[in-house]
Amino acid sequence: MIHSLFLINASGDIFLEKHWKSVVSRSVCDYFFEALERATEPENVPPVIPTPHHFLINVLRHRIYFVAVIQSEVPPLFVIEFLHRVVDTFQDYFGVCTEAAIKDNVVVVYELLEEMLDNGFPLATESNILKELIKPPTILRTVVNTITGSTNVGEQLPTGQLSVVPWRRTGVKYTNNEAYFDVVEEIDAIIDKSGSTITAEIQGVVDACVKLTGMPDLTLSFMNPRLLDDVSFHPCVRFKRWEAERILSFIPPDGNFRLLSYHVSSQNLVAIPVYVKHNISFREGSSQGRFELTLGPKQTMGKAVESVLVSSQLPRGVLNANLNPSQGTYTFDPVTKLLSWDVGKINPQKLPSLKGSMSLQTGASKPDENPTINIQFKIQQLAISGLKVNRLDMYGEKYKPFKGIKYMTKAGKFQVRT
């Protein structure tokens, strides 16, 4: 399946290679570089690149290309999913997944890759199993290891590997038993010029941080499970129970994990929590353009809209922008033509606005398209779909855990066309 893996940074250097079968020369990456050159943007590199003898499947994350070399037929998603899992694991181990972090921990990276694939086929990708095999590097452990000469490598087969609950290790102990759940919803929307919604859907996830002793068996029920249109579960969730009773019943992994992600489809009416008034115009013949933008809250159920960030890719003809924000700060990059405005919190009494003029290239005709505006925001303590957790129960252990549930709504791909 996966023959080799090359890690390539933004400037096109191969800084790590690993082979699971016989060695593939790194010259195979030349085909990738060709594709990279052809692509205008880093994201535009096609994920699957055929070469005479191999196929290169790549993913781009944290400005690193993970290029897998494949020799024969394999479901491409299989490889892509695996590569993303590798990135997630690195992030889990090192906090960040950057070139520097990987180079600093090259031995751990190698040990991890060795465990994750055998002969190109995934062997152990479950984070808690890996952590028993190879302990994540911490400063304390490094110090202790140098003194005592002990290692980061486990000598026993992780208990999870053979168990039917591979995601949980045995013998977990905490003094404070706690289980936190975050319901995070993202709104993906396209709003047209006139302010009406073209498409809007909600993507939600329930992320959990469970630190419970022993083998707890949890059930989580919702007030309105009918809202959940389409769901995908962490393997720990018992699917039959969900089908029958719409209750999430599971033995949780230890630590942080994504319990569930769900989709509230575009057929349902989705509340749009902000509105945008805009007036962006270029006059024919003049080298000036007008730019006016006002944001306001709507349908927020009384909650404040925070961390608002507006960004827009202005037309190529725009040379500079001279704008005046009523609150927050704005920047305009004359090279990439990217305008971004950090608004902060929206005060319903005094709506934030950004007004001013843009200078255009003299002589050039007016740009015939208007830029789209991307908006990011956060609303605490609100799940915009109206989803509510009813109760969380624990069986199988005797202590009383501390339970907490948090709601949050964010903008996903929220675009306003002008």
């Binding site: 060695v23 196929f55 491409p76 190698y110 168990s163 995908s232 057929q267």
Partner: protein, 1103 residues
């Protein structure tokens, strides 16, 4: 860097060949010569020095220094630098105690062994030793590395190791073995046949851990051996949910292919229906025949696959979701297909690369089935932040989804895209509009007008694309659009893109009769600018001129001649050629032949309109979700999806464990059982039964089997639900709930008669069932077996079925009488040297078990002179609980190992079962369910017709454990109920004692050394030192014969394994206070387990 050091290696070799100088000397001289070579090599020498100090570090005594060195070496490997010259220094550390150091050495070995084959061989013995390590992780990693070293010389060793590991007790090691199969296959394809044998064995494995890996190996080594799958098909379907996610993907893809060869198409319903309506007037006989063929009934196995994969659509792993989607696409009836839509749309939220693949597949699907994705049309709206290839794919899908109802929405959306800053995307949108216009005739005019508006766009690419698309559109219906052509002519001066200009000119020429006034004028303009035009434009000018000459020669004759003259002297030979050709064709002169007569027909021939079609039109020739589909070209190793067979192949091949031995018994006992109970009212079954009775016994049992299978399927769904909720409540305290669940699932499938009973007895039965399951779960966890073998619980080997076929059906049904039994039971407890309960011995059999055993001993043993089967030295009285009376509704069962050769089969272990009735009612028809046992070959006791209250009966049975300690699971049935029970043998019970001389013992021991030997030193407790106690301890643990020993302090025991008859030799050498236990056997796994047990027995004090 790489190249340079490679150079040095080859130089090195040359040197040693030429001069034969001592290698070390050579080594030292080379860097010197190179470093003097110039600036470029300074880098190399620095590198060389670094490696030198690494070598020193590796050779030091300090573990930490070695580790540090290895870490730096791994760093070098990671960067792609060559560190191969350190091989000798590194390979020395392969046996290091430090596990991290060892692992890094492994990493190094795997990377460079191929290049340094001779040196790599030095490490092999270390791995061979590690293969027998009691730690499964070490065994597994040894196998991983051993099989990753691509050195052809060790192929036999690898083969041996794989075979060993395939029977390992740890599923993790077996999984590694499955991976090793592929490695060995790629190293030496000649081993294929042997590897297939191992694959066949591993396919029977019941562990979820192994399933994915072995199917992967199957796909790689022998994807065409579909026959290996038959027997495992249902098991794989049922295990699928619990297999790890990567394995799921592989299994689903394999099962998709399998299903396409084994089941008939579920898609032909409509066709059959039509046929029927046509033939409605045919006479009755024919009609009936049609009726028989008409209703499409999905094969229950086909349904099983669809049902068991469906929950996986909810997986978090996108590859799994995609795999299930393609399975449904290729296998499910059309009306069930819609369930995959939502999940696929959900994947669109994932990473960019995932989106790309999913969109591609949706694009292919949406061509064939618009309806599937139409409700989700808005999910394919393009965002300005999407990558270009994502945008194009979304556009493709939107185009495919367009129909009369939604076209206006889509066109409005397209209008926004046309204005996009991404001009390539805008151009693609125009293409898409063109597609919509041709596909939906209602909007053709609207689209055309819209495109004409775009002609005045400021962007050239947009205009050019519009012209090209308009040209294509006009070709389909030119007559109505002369005004558009006029409009384009007007715009012509402003258009600069050559392709667009060429297109307009072509249009003018083609439809010059529709615009008779404008065309000559355009030609006039072009004559002026001819020399400045691009080549494609020039060609079209010549074309236009020729066409006008033919239609309107009065006005254009001179112009044409002028243009042809210009063309004659053009720099481009294509244009010169074309000009010459056109001139000969259209201008009549004496030289021109017959062709000019036809010039008009040649040039003005009606041209077929181009078909605007999706780039994904032909992609469906590839299986969805594959690399080949993504690339739209066949990748190597792509396995073609076959067409549905017209007639379904024999479906009974998938029936597992059809025992011919059981068949007659079944038919005989049938009258005894009440018919309604087992074969409920369904007509189908009766039909099947009749059919079966006509044919041979074996086929009757198999057809019945399949019927039961199908019926239980209907039932199992709801029974599953109710019982699972039951057990979840009751067992939430237990820690291994999940395990029980899988156990239960399995049992549910086995308990088919029960689920039928349920119809009558309803909830009651279910309750008991779930109780019994929780019981068996706790039983298993409390049993003394180690954690590895515990996980084996659900798995039992299938092998031995072949042997079973040879065993004769039971001669006569004996009917044990209770009174007799009670007497026997009393005596049973007193006897040490006990023979199987005579009650159950078939009366017709003349052979007494002991006599039989003697005969067997003579027959089996390969070295008959030396080895003689002996009677057991010691038979333990302890019996184990098989079924508790609480679980068994008053029926309790205990079993013990009689340690006698089994009378039912050479490879069976003989067991004695004591059944007691603790209720106050008589229990009837106690028997072992015929089809229940999943793996082992079991010889059942004859059904006990009646067991009085408080009475007991002792019966004997035989189980072929196939030399493994995997549990035997079977169903103990009474008239009303069925209980799942399992027997877990201790390794010592899988042996039969033999006697031999001391000399023979040592001789045999000498043959079984190396990998076959395992030994341990223990400190023996003082009370165990006496010869008596050692003997007693050992024989109580294992069924071994004592060999008379000439030496004081050495005790020897010998036995052979029941199934394969391999020798097992145990010797205990006392060296006060230590004792050395040595076990020699081919069955290394058994050996190490036995060693462990003997060790504990000898270290424990007590009697």
């Amino acid at each position: 860097m790489l190249g340079m050091s490679a150079n040095s290696v080859s130089y090195n070799e040359q040197g040693s060949v030429e001069s034969g100088v001592d290698a070390a000397q050579e080594n030292s001289s080379i860097p010197a010569s190179i470093s003097s070579g110039g600036a470029a090599s300074s880098l190399f020498s620095a590198d060389y020095k670094k490696n030198e100090d690494l070598k020193e570090m590796l050779e030091s005594n300090k573990e930490s220094l070695k580790l540090e060195a290895m870490k730096r070496i791994v760093g070098l490997i990671a960067k792609g630098k060559n560190a191969s010259e350190l091989f000798p220094a590194v390979v020395k550390n392969v046996a290091s105690k430090n596990i991290e150091l060892k692992k890094l050495v492994y990493v190094y070995l795997v990377r460079y062994a191929e290049e340094q084959q001779d040196l790599a061989l030095l490490s092999i013995s270390t791995f061979q030793r590690a293969l027998k390590d009691p730690n499964q992780l070490i065994r597994a990693s040894a196998l991983r590395v051993l099989s990753s070293i691509r050195v052809p010389i060790i192929v036999p060793i690898m083969m041996l190791a794989i075979k060993e590991a395939a029977t390992d007790l740890s599923p993790y090691v077996r999984k590694t073995a499955a991976h090793a199969i592929q490695k060995l296959f790629s190293l030496d394809p000649d081993q294929k046949e042997h590897l297939i044998e191992v694959i066949e064995k591993l396919l029977k494995d019941k562990s979820t851990l192994v399933a994915g890996s072995v199917v992967m190996a199957f796909e790689e080594v022998c994807p065409d051996r579909i026959d290996l799958i038959h027997k495992n098909y249902r098991k794989l379907c049922n295990l699928l949910v619990d297999v790890e996610e990567w394995g799921q993907v592989v299994i689903i893809h394999m099962l998709t292919r399998y299903a396409r060869t084994q089941f008939v198409s579920p898609w032909r319903e409509d066709a059959v229906f039509d046929e029927n309506s046509e033939k409605a007037f045919y006479d009755s006989e024919e009609e009936r025949r049609v009726d028989q063929s008409k209703p499409y009934i999905m094969d229950p196995d086909h349904r099983l696959l669809l049902r068991n994969t469906k929950p996986l659509l909810q997986s978090r792993n996108t590859a799994v979701v995609m795999a299930v989607s393609q399975l449904y696409w290729h296998l499910s009836p059309k009306h069930e297909l819609s369930i995959i839509t939502k999940s696929l749309v959900r994947l669109l939220r994932s990473h960019r690369e995932v989106q790309y693949i999913v969109l591609q597949n949706i694009a292919t699907m949406s061509i064939q089935r618009k309806g599937m994705f139409e409700p989700f049309m808005k999910s394919f709206y393009v965002r300005s932040t999407d990558a270009t290839h994502i945008k194009t794919l979304k556009l493709e899908i939107l185009t495919n989804l367009a129909n009369e109802a939604n076209i206006s929405t889509i066109l409005r959306e397209f209008q926004t895209y046309v204005k996009s800053q991404d001009k390539a995307f805008a151009a693609a949108t125009i293409q898409a509009i063109g597609c919509c216009a041709t596909n939906i005739s209602e909007v053709t005019d609207t689209c055309l007008n819209g495109l004409v508006l775009l002609l005045s766009n400021r962007d050239e690419t947009v205009v050019a694309e519009s012209v090209v698309v308009i040209k294509k559109l006009l070709q389909t219906q030119p007559s109505q659009h002369s005004d558009i052509i006029k409009h384009m002519a007007k715009l012509f001066d402003n258009i600069t893109v050559p392709m667009a200009r060429a297109s307009i000119l072509w249009l003018m020429g083609e439809y010059c009769e529709h615009v008779p006034k404008i065309a000559p004028d355009v030609l006039r303009k072009m004559a002026k600018t001819f020399t400045d035009e691009e080549d494609i434009v020039k060609l079209q000018i010549v074309n236009l001129a020729a066409k006008l000459y033919l239609t309107n020669s009065k006005q254009t004759k001179l112009l044409t001649q002028y243009i042809l003259n210009l063309g004659k002297y053009d720099q481009n030979y294509d244009i010169r050629d074309r000009t010459r050709f056109i001139r000969q064709l259209i201008v009549p002169n004496e030289k021109s032949g017959a062709l000019s007569k036809y010039a008009r027909r040649i040039l003005m021939a009606p041209k077929p309109a181009p078909v605007l079609q999706s780039a994904f039109k032909d992609r469906d020739r590839f299986q969805l979700g594959t690399l080949s589909h993504t690339l739209n070209s066949q990748a190597s190793g792509y396995l073609e999806l076959s067409d549905w067979p017209a007639v379904a192949p024999d479906q009974s091949v998938r029936n597992v464990e059809v025992k011919e031995a059981g068949a007659p018994a079944l038919s005989k006992s049938k009258p005894a059982k009440s018919n309604e109970k087992f074969y409920s009212d369904s007509e189908e079954e009766e039909g099947e039964e009749e059919e079966g009775s006509n044919s041979e016994d074996s086929s009757s049992s198999s057809s019945e089997e399949s019927v039961r299978e199908s019926e239980s399927e209907e039932n199992s769904n709801d029974s599953n639900k109710s019982s699972s909720s039951q057990s979840e409540k009751s067992s939430s305290e237990s820690d291994s709930e999940k395990k029980k669940k899988t156990l239960k699932n399995k049992k549910l499938q086995q308990q088919k008669p029960d689920s039928k009973d349920r119809k009558q007895k309803n909830g009651n039965a279910v309750k008991v069932e779930s109780r019994s399951e929780s019981e068996s779960g706790s039983e298993s966890s409390s049993s003394e077996s180690s954690s590895e073998s515990r996980s084996e619980l659900d798995s039992d080997s299938d092998s031995g079925t072949d042997q079973k076929k040879n065993t004769k059906p039971k001669p006569v049904q004996s009917k044990p009488v209770i009174k007799q039994v009670e007497k026997k039971e009393v005596s049973l407890l007193d006897l040490d040297d006990f023979s199987p309960a005579p009650v159950t011995t078939p009366k017709s059999s003349i052979l007494s078990p002991n006599l039989l055993s003697d005969l067997q001993g003579l027959l089996i043993s390969p070295t008959a002179s030396a080895l003689q089967a002996s009677s057991p030295v010691f038979v333990p009285e302890t019996s184990h609980e098989l079924l508790h009376r609480m679980t068994g509704k008053g029926l309790s069962a205990q079993y013990r190992f009689t340690r006698q050769p089994c009378i039912y089969g050479n490879s069976m272990v003989s067991l004695q079962l004591t059944l007691s009735n603790r209720t106050d009612q008589a229990l009837e028809n106690i028997h072992i369910s015929e089809k229940s046992s999943t793996g082992q070959n079991i010889h059942r006791f004859n059904a006990i017709e009646r067991l009085e209250p408080q009475a007991s009966v002792t019966v004997s049975m035989g189980v072929d454990f196939n030399d493994s300690t995997q549990t035997a699971n079977f169903q103990l049935c009474t008239k009303e109920d069925e209980f799942s029970v399992s027997i877990q043998p201790a390794v010592g019970e899988l042996l039969l004692p033999i006697t031999m001389s001391e000399a023979d013992f040592t001789k045999e021991q000498g043959k079984l050394v190396g990998m076959n030997e395992s030994s341990a030193t223990i400190t023996i407790t003082p009370e165990n030192v006496s010869s008596q106690s050692v003997n007693r301890k050992v024989v109580s643990v294992a069924n071994l014969g004592v060999i008379p020993s000439g030496q004081e302090n050495i005790y020897r025991f010998a036995g052979k394994t029941v199934s394969s008859g391999s020798l097992v030799l145990v010797s205990v050498a006392l060296k006060d206070p230590d004792a050395m236990i040595t076990i020699n056997t081919e069955k290394t796994v058994m050996g190490s387990m036995l060693l462990r047990q003997v060790k504990t027995a000898l270290t424990n004090s007590g009697p």
